[in-house]
């Protein structure tokens, strides 16, 4: 029993509620946002240390024992993602101060952001599959409102589609849970793992697994990504950054949990399917990214490529590949946030996201330009930046596993190929935006980047740290992968003496 486990959910919840009560007081809301996210990050770091030293921490809500009550579990994977979420959300909210505008601040922007983080952290923490659905919904409802906040024509159009897709996939989620409950009669993830292992993953359970795969693919934009580019390009950059960094990643986390903890008995069906979807996602997302001519769309398609690459690590399903996938997941959360924030800064200066309308920004904004280049190189996987380690591990393992099944050669090759597409699409922004003739003199610029570059610089620092300090982070990620690949560790921590 460790009550610290619920704090990453409770701190933003309390902060958000206070903000609703003091709606008129913008200054207070700003302070509360920062305090809440910093506190959440600190608690997450404390949990990280605790999990590292003492193993998985749990709390049985209301004192009800594990398979009967709802349990909150923090294992290494959750702890790492909580820390990353905390850092990314803190920096995004700092960026929002100077970019989000008075109207949105008055209409519950900060409380909605807190509730979004409640949902994200709740999804990472919960050990109950129905509770996962509830946390997803908390997160999605906040994201619906954040997406439509402002009420421009484009936003409303995109929000309708986004909400409809997500409502439908949530319904499918409920249906999948119903089937699973009918077969194994439990909702606790650890208990599910035990029961599925006992029953042997029969054909019916594999069908249910694929049902979950469809649901989470919709949420994570794995192959079923058609809703993403539109939805992520409609809201202001900081909201898009939060979405790009966190929302799809929660879907990925759910896929990790499902296919490492519960449905890991039939990798020749489920994980091969994951691999095919990942390969298609990388290729199609990459083609989308190089075809677009608007920063917002290019960045949105880059989110999709990232999803494909992370899932290909899960599809290969060897210890090192999973380490690579977790590493890349963390890197991707930080770097996608950075990319969207930098893109937002560029759009603030130019006043539009169209590549045609920008050029030569490096003259007046050298720092912005260099940071964008670092982010680009990092996402493309150039050493010593953060993307490198994850890419090397996943591709190496893919090639190694290609010996047993030749289709993994293809997966690894497509992973490499997607890196080139990422590099090409982002360099296109860099070359178009920063090189060439300076189209805008300083007084013609539409907005100033005052206060926008500090959060970006901090994210760049984190990116470099993730790359250079990989040696230092590696033990944590290794522990995450060990616990993911040995479900018994999780089961024993949650169910303990019950089983």
């Amino acid at each position: 029993m460790n009550n610290f486990v619920v704090l990453p959910l409770l701190i933003p919840l309390l902060a958000g509620l206070f903000m609703i009560i003091f709606r008129k007081n913008t200054i207070l809301q700003r302070w509360l946002s920062v305090i809440s996210f910093v506190l959440t990050t600190l608690v997450a770091l404390y949990l990280l240390r605790q999990v590292f030293n003492q193993g998985i921490q749990i709390v049985n809500l209301g004192g009800w024992q594990a398979p009967f009550g709802i349990v909150f579990v923090v294992d290494m994977l959750s702890a790492l993602l909580l820390v990353t979420t905390g850092i990314v959300s803190t920096l995004c909210v700092l960026y929002a101060f100077n970019s989000i505008g008075k109207e949105r601040e008055g209409f519950y922007f900060y409380p909605l952001l807190q509730f979004l983080i409640v949902g994200v952290n709740g999804s990472f923490l919960t050990g109950d599959i129905f509770n996962l659905f509830v946390c997803f919904e908390v997160m999605l409802l906040s994201s619906y409102v954040l997406l439509s906040l402002g009420g421009t024509k484009l936003q409303l159009k995109e929000t309708i589609k986004y909400v409809l897709i997500n409502t439908l996939s949530s319904t499918l989620f409920v249906v999948a849970i119903a089937y699973l409950y009918a077969v194994v009669g439990t909702l606790n993830m650890a208990h599910l793992s035990v029961r599925v292992a006992e029953a042997g993953q029969t054909g019916f359970l594999t069908v249910v697994a694929i049902f979950f795969l469809i649901v989470f693919s919709l949420k994570a934009a794995l192959f079923l990504y058609f809703w993403l580019p539109g939805a992520y390009s409609a809201p202001p950059p900081v909201i898009a950054a939060i979405f790009g960094a966190l929302l799809t990643k929660v879907g990925i986390y759910a896929l990790f949990r499902m296919f490492t903890l519960i449905f890991y008995h039939q990798p020749e069906i489920t994980h091969i399917l994951l691999g095919i979807l990942a390969a298609l996602t990388m290729v199609l997302g990459g083609l989308g990214a190089i075809a677009q001519k608007d920063i917002r769309y290019i960045l949105s398609y880059n989110v999709i490529i990232g999803v494909g690459f992370i899932i290909s690590g899960l599809a290969i399903f060897t210890p090192k590949a999973v380490i690579g996938a977790v590493y890349y997941l963390i890197h991707d959360m930080a770097m996608k946030a950075l990319l969207f924030l930098l893109g937002g800064a560029i759009m603030t200066i130019v006043g539009s996201g169209k590549l045609k309308e920008m050029g030569g920004l490096i003259r007046n904004h050298p720092l912005l330009g260099w940071m964008f280049l670092i982010a680009t190189l990092s996402l493309a996987g150039i050493p010593p930046l953060s993307g490198f380690v994850g890419k090397v591990l996943i591709i190496e393992e893919g090639l190694a596993k290609g010996g047993t099944n030749a289709s993994f050669y293809w997966l690894a090759a497509l992973g490499l190929f997607s890196s080139f597409l990422v590099l090409y699409s982002l360099l296109k922004i860099f070359i178009n935006g920063f090189w060439g003739e300076t189209l805008l003199s300083e007084d013609m610029e539409k907005g100033s980047t005052k206060g926008l570059l500090l959060p970006c610089a901090l994210l760049v620092a984190i990116g470099i740290f993730l790359g250079v300090g990989a040696e230092w982070i590696y033990p944590y990620i290794e522990q995450a992968a060990t616990s993911m690949l040995n479900p018994n560790i999780y089961i024993e921590a949650v169910l303990g003496e019950v089983i």
């Binding site: 029993m1 009550n3 619920v6 409770l10 919840l13 309390l14 509620l17 206070f18 609703i20 009560i21 709606r23 709390v59 049985n60 809500l61 209301g62 004192g63 909150f72």
Partner: protein
């Protein structure tokens, strides 16, 4: 245009009290029997919805001059803080406790922390339902004229 619905208004005046009483009954019954904060809050909200239908939104706004979103936030806050009370006693989050006390009028009564949590739930449901009703009806009345 003002519709004259005397019968509805007279019935509502009586019915509202009955509905509210029933809501409180449901709320208190919830500890051991079907009922509870959620359904109690919804029944109270239905009473207000009836009032909105029979009178108009403006009158109701004058009677309840506060923001229901704040009511909902306070409700959730009460529920969460009650849950966090267990931190002080080193129990898991959301643990409840109860005891039997001799109160002056009621005699021996069971008092439970879960009831405070339920008050929070009731307020949250009430606040949410009312803010939805008021938001939608306000806009439609604007749209008719």
């Amino acid at each position: 245009m003002k519709v004259n619905n005397v019968i509805l208004q007279t019935v509502t005046k009586v019915a509202t009290y009955i509905i509210l009483t029933f809501a409180i009954y449901l709320f208190l019954a919830g500890h051991h029997n079907p009922g509870g904060g959620f359904i109690g809050g919804l029944v109270i909200a239905s009473a207000v919805a009836l009032l909105v239908l029979v009178y108009d939104v403006k009158t109701l706004k004058a009677v309840f001059p506060f923001d229901f979103k704040i009511l909902a936030a306070v409700g959730v806050l009460i529920a969460v803080v009650t849950g966090m009370g267990s931190f002080v006693f080193g129990k898991p989050f959301l643990s409840q406790s109860f005891g039997y006390f001799n109160l002056p009028i009621f005699g021996e009564t069971e008092l439970a922390t879960a009831v405070i949590f339920d008050v929070g739930v009731a307020l949250a449901v009430l606040g949410t339902a009312l803010s939805i009703i008021f938001t939608i009806s306000e806009d439609i009345s604007l749209w008719k004229h």
